[in-house]
């Protein structure tokens, strides 16, 4: 690989230390299948505790921070600008989305450039948000959306989608509604919502030949819960068609549950802004 002259570089080959973990230690046992009971004690369709906050990046037009369990994502949105290198007129405005894991956010260190996974996630993020934004309101302009994962504890993309939708509304970009997203994982006959990183790893590998059920996979679905519509559906793995319906239903219910949390957060920020305005008017008098 060519050396990046724009950064301070380390030695050419470095090895993460966790591959040399003492095999006798108890900690290192890795599960092959999803456990009957989830390690954090949740129900199979129970979501993790969620914390959202808007307006955390002062320089951005709108921004949001989301915490789901260990997962932490920051997202910011900027003023519309003319689409660069564009010839001709585009009737609909564009969303430019960039999804990035910070180098220290995953078990294995990420490189500074976007890798193929992050590029794919950027596109999913764009598709999930595009249908919720009134793009006809800003023809020939693009709105930049940047999502940065600070800590990956699983379901980062779903968290990024929700943070981005909050950031877009914080930036007063005209929207049809909020977007919520939930990740589901299937492994053999088990089915979990809002996966942790450990569960994600298990669900993305096919079970052994010998096992009865060879179902496995991860589903990320983004909804517009206020309209009962689905804006993005992304699936990896392989599973029986019969499994699909209950999965979609479970996710849709979960997405609906998330909506009030985000609405509350937005109401809070509006109230805060109103209060600030009031105070200012008082000071002016």
């Amino acid at each position: 690989m060519p050396v990046d002259q724009r950064r301070i570089n380390g030695p050419e080959v470095t090895i993460p230390y966790n591959i040399y973990f003492d095999s006798n230690a108890k900690q290192t046992e890795t599960r092959k299948t999803l456990p009957k009971k989830r390690t954090d004690g949740r129900d199979s369709t129970e979501l993790r505790k969620i914390f959202v906050k808007t307006g955390i990046v002062s320089q951005a037009k709108g921004s949001a921070y989301i915490e789901m369990g260990k997962t932490k994502v920051v997202c910011s949105v900027f003023d519309p600008r003319e689409i660069p290198n564009k010839t001709g007129y585009s009737l609909q405005g564009e969303l430019f989305c960039e999804f990035k894991f910070s180098p220290f956010s995953c078990l294995k260190r990420k490189i500074h450039q976007q890798d193929s996974e992050e590029k794919e996630y950027s596109i999913i993020l764009q598709r999930a948000l595009e249908s919720a934004v009134c793009r006809h309101e800003f023809p020939n302009f693009q709105v930049d959306v940047y999502a940065l994962v600070l800590d990956n504890g699983g379901s980062s993309l779903a968290a990024a989608i929700m943070a981005s939708s909050l950031a877009l509304s914080d930036a007063s970009v005209p929207m049809f509604g909020l977007v919520t997203a939930v990740t589901a994982g299937i492994y053999q006959d088990r089915f979990y919502l809002d996966l942790t990183e450990e569960e994600e790893v298990i669900c993305s590998k096919a079970p052994d030949e010998s096992t009865s059920s060879r179902n496995y996979g991860i589903v990320i679905q983004a909804n517009l819960p206020q309209h009962g519509q689905i804006s993005e559906f992304f699936h990896v793995g392989s599973m029986d068609l019969a499994n699909m319906k209950p999965t979609v239903e479970a996710i849709t219910t979960a997405c609906k549950e998330l909506c009030p949390v985000m609405q509350q957060c937005l109401v809070k920020s509006v109230l805060k802004a109103l209060k600030r305005k009031e105070n200012m008017e008082k000071e002016d008098q």
Binding site: D4, R6, I8, V57, Q59, D151
Partner: protein, 279 residues
């Protein structure tokens, strides 16, 4: 007079920013309501990122920098067989300010990385020999990534602060290395902290007309300043004085900035220590 305006939403799009700032400064106050020599409130948070070996979040006013350290193993350089590596990189992603665009690191990010590296090396906080596991064979590589989340001036101060807080909380697992077979065994349960000495603290100043010196400038002040000056203090000693161009400054101003940054250094050091002991 209107003070303490939330900057982001109301002050953007001022028609004549230079005059706007000058009007404030003439009335002996800064646009955010601060006195000339006051610094913004700071806060530090450590160990909040679970996937990193150590992490910290350093805030100065709105400015936020996240530092995460990932440790990996590598062979040492031939010329320094008993020295580990410390690779600090500052990232100014487009997320933190509309000034930056996606793509390779901007000149500013590169210069910030270099300054952080120089400050780190000059201060001698961490002896790279302490990162040696087995001479000539195996050493630690500490990838220290500093990501700016909110770019609102004095980013270098936040970067240095975040790096120091993260290094102070860094623990590395015990490693057994057999020099003959090359076998490596890591004991994840036995983690040891790395010995550090001192803690450099960086203070940025902005200079305006008539040699007016203000510490801890916001992005708005920084971009309109006639010159910028950064001082790095560690205890009784200095380990970096960095000024690139701008209006020339006299020795009196330099002395003033020195005494100001000493006060600030004490403040930041205490802040980091309390943040670490309280978690």
């Amino acid at each position: 007079m209107r003070r303490n305006l939330p900057r982001s939403k109301y002050q953007k799009g001022i028609i004549h920013p230079i005059k706007y700032l000058r009007d404030y400064l003439e009335r002996d106050i800064r646009p955010d309501g601060r006195q000339f020599l006051r610094v913004r409130p700071m806060s530090v948070n450590v160990r909040s990122i679970t996937q990193a070996d150590s992490s910290s979040i350093f805030k100065i006013g709105n400015t936020t920098v996240v530092c995460g350290i990932k440790a990996e193993l590598a062979e040492p350089k031939v010329e320094t067989p008993d020295c580990g590596y410390i690779i600090p990189n500052v990232e100014l992603p487009p997320l933190c300010s509309p000034k930056f665009r996606p793509g390779p690191p901007s000149d500013q990010a590169q210069i910030s990385s270099k300054i952080v590296e120089t400050v780190f090396l000059n201060s001698g906080v961490l002896d790279p020999r302490n990162l040696c596991i087995s001479k000539n064979k195996l050493v630690w590589v500490l990838y220290c990534d500093l990501i700016c989340i909110d770019y609102d001036g004095s980013v270098m101060d936040a970067c240095v602060g975040a790096l120091m807080a993260a290094l102070k909380t860094l623990t590395l697992p015990e490693v057994e290395h057999n020099p003959d077979t090359g076998a490596i065994i890591v004991h994840p349960s036995k983690r040891l902290s790395v010995p550090l000495k001192g803690a450099p603290v960086c203070t940025t100043f902005a200079l305006f007309e008539d040699q007016l010196l203000i510490p801890d400038p916001t992005e708005e002040e920084e971009s309109l300043a006639l010159a910028r000056l950064s001082l790095v203090i560690d205890g009784e000693e200095l380990c970096g004085v960095y000024k690139a161009g701008g209006i020339p400054i006299s020795q009196e101003v330099l002395m003033k900035s020195l005494s100001q940054s000493k006060k600030r250094a004490e403040l930041v050091r205490k802040l980091i220590d309390t943040a670490i002991s309280s978690t």
